[in-house]
Each structure stands twice: as C-alpha cells, then as structure tokens.
C-alpha cells in the first residue's frame, strides 16, 4: 500500500494482511464454532461466495463439507454470511488500521489530496464484500474499487512502458 505523487511512492507500508489471511480466519472459525476441519480451497470458496466484512442486506448461506473433528468422518454443514462477518471482521480491521497508519504518516498536503480524490483499491482481495464500505466508514474517505481490480496491476505494468521517463525505475538491458 502506498501514497504516490510525482511518479514515486512517498509513504508506503507492507500490508501484513492479504487474501490468504481471510481464508485462515475462516478455517479457524469453522473449526472452533462447528468442530469441523475444512481445507484452504473450501475456505476461499466460502469467502468469495458468502464472505463479508460489513453486514449484508440479505443473509446468504452455503453448504460445505469438512472433517468432523469428533467422529473423524466427513460432514456437511450450512454456513451463513453473518458467521463470515464474525470470522472476518478482525482481519479486515487490520487492513483499516494499516491504512490509518499510512494516512498518519502522510504529509498534510498529500493527505488533503487523498481525502478529495478518495482511496483506490486493487487486487483480488479488495473484492471481499463490504471491505470498501468498512474502510470508507472508518476513514471518512471515499473508497473506490478500481475497474477490473484483479488485472489492474498487469495493465499498469504494461502501460508503464509508455511512461518510462516519469517513473523512477531500475532498468537493465
């Protein structure tokens, strides 16, 4: 995550939290609440299909299969999006806190620009339902999900070849 001006990062930080941390939180929650062990794929499916970090207008549910930790046998349970909120909110708040701390370290003029223009989110992880709303509510700054958020970095990387002179980059033949 970074604050960028004049082709370079002014303030940046490494986010300790990304998509896989949400998957881990789901695995932990299902284990604790339902006594069922699920795999990473199942956790990611739950996150993408019914996950949220802001209350959904309408509750959603999904059936999942895992291993019952008591009997050791496969078992199916129904998981609700309200449970996902409970499982994921703590991890989502770590992202909010990281944004907050970058804003605190941002020079005032640049911070004013950001509050005028909003915060952009990119990457597959920003598609988690409600993450934009949560960040917007907690920072009071407009949050926008970039168009085609998942391919955004690739697009920017290709387009950067047109802007070589603006960018502060390492190059080598």
């Amino acid at each position: 995550m970074a604050v960028i001006s004049l082709g370079g990062s002014v303030v940046s930080t490494s986010l300790k939290v990304a998509g896989d941390k949400f998957d881990e939180a789901i695995i932990k929650y299902i284990k604790k609440k339902h006594n069922i062990m699920i795999g990473e794929r199942t956790a990611e499916d739950l996150k993408i299909n019914i996950g949220c970090v802001y209350p959904k207008i309408q509750d959603m549910e999904m059936d999942i299969r895992g291993r019952d930790l008591i009997t050791g046998l496969p078992k199916t349970v129904t998981i609700h999006s309200s449970e996902m909120l409970e499982a994921l909110i703590e991890t989502a708040m770590m992202i909010v806190d990281a944004v907050h701390s970058v804003l605190e370290r941002t020079p005032p003029e640049l911070a004013a620009d950001i509050s005028d223009k909003g915060i952009y989110m990119t990457g597959g992880g920003c598609l988690l339902d409600g993450l934009d709303k949560l960040l917007q509510e907690k920072t009071g700054i407009n949050v926008m999900i970039a168009q085609d958020a998942v391919s955004c970095v690739a697009l920017g990387t290709g387009k950067a070849l047109d802007n070589l002179d603006t960018l502060d980059m390492r190059k080598r033949k």
Binding site: I4, L6, S9, L15, L110, I119, C152, A154, G156, K173
Partner: protein, 160 residues
Amino acid sequence: MFKYGQDIGIDLGTATVIAYVKGKGIVLREPSVVAVDNNTGDVLAVGKEARRMLGRTPGNIVATRPLREGVISNYTVTEKMLKYFINRVCGKFIFSPRIMICIPSQVTEVEKKAVIDAASQAGAKKVYLIEEPIAAAIGAGIDISKACGNMVVDIGRRNN
C-alpha cells in the same frame, strides 16, 4: 502474430501471473504454481495444471507457489516459471519485446537480478522492473506524473 507486439507487462502475483500486451489486452492469466520433481529438479507443470496438483502429489513431486509472503521464496523455480510464461506469450512475437515486470516490493537485489536474467534469457530485448503500488496506480487510471497525492491499497493473496 501481434501487430503492436513490442511491449509486454507481467504481474508476477502470489496467486496469479497476468500478462498484458499493448493493443491486445490480457493475453495470459495463470496460477503462479509450479510442480517440480525433487529428484531431478525438472519442472513438470506450470500454471493451471500445476495448481491441480497442489496437495495431491507423491513424495518426489512438489507443487508449490514460489512467491510467498510477498518475496520470492524459491527463485530457481520462479525463474523457470517466468521463462515458461514469457515463452508462451513471446512465441507469438516476430520481434523480441520489451518486458516490464511488476515485483513485490520486498524483493532483494539478488532476486531482482534473477527476475531480470530470467526475462532476458527468455528473449526480452529490454527488461524493466516496477513496484506494485505504482503499477496498481497506473492500472487504476491515475495520472501519477502530477504533484498530487494518491493512495492505492492493493490486496493480493499474500502480503505485499
């Protein structure tokens, strides 16, 4: 064959590798997973095929994601993966392309050099590296040349 095919952008993500070609759009989108035979060091599968092997391989074969925690955890394998993907994209070019590669911000100088070498060996005329937040900002349509603050939060699979 591509008419404009001189410039390629590659996002070396921890979940997905995506390649963009000017005038063509996204030309490749594959999981960043590699299956390696530990006895011989041979790469057995890359991308989608290797992803299916995750958690399902016998002892000597390992399916891994070479990019973890925002750094390159295994750069010999990363190098092979990058070469494989570049060859797949570049097979379609008549002239050798310029390649811009987006790398996680924490990679070391040694790792950067490995990425540059891999891309050069795969046939790039020139290789450039770009940091993720900058690439994300350009991709989001922000004019980064202005003296104006912009905040970009990129959330991938692993921390960046």
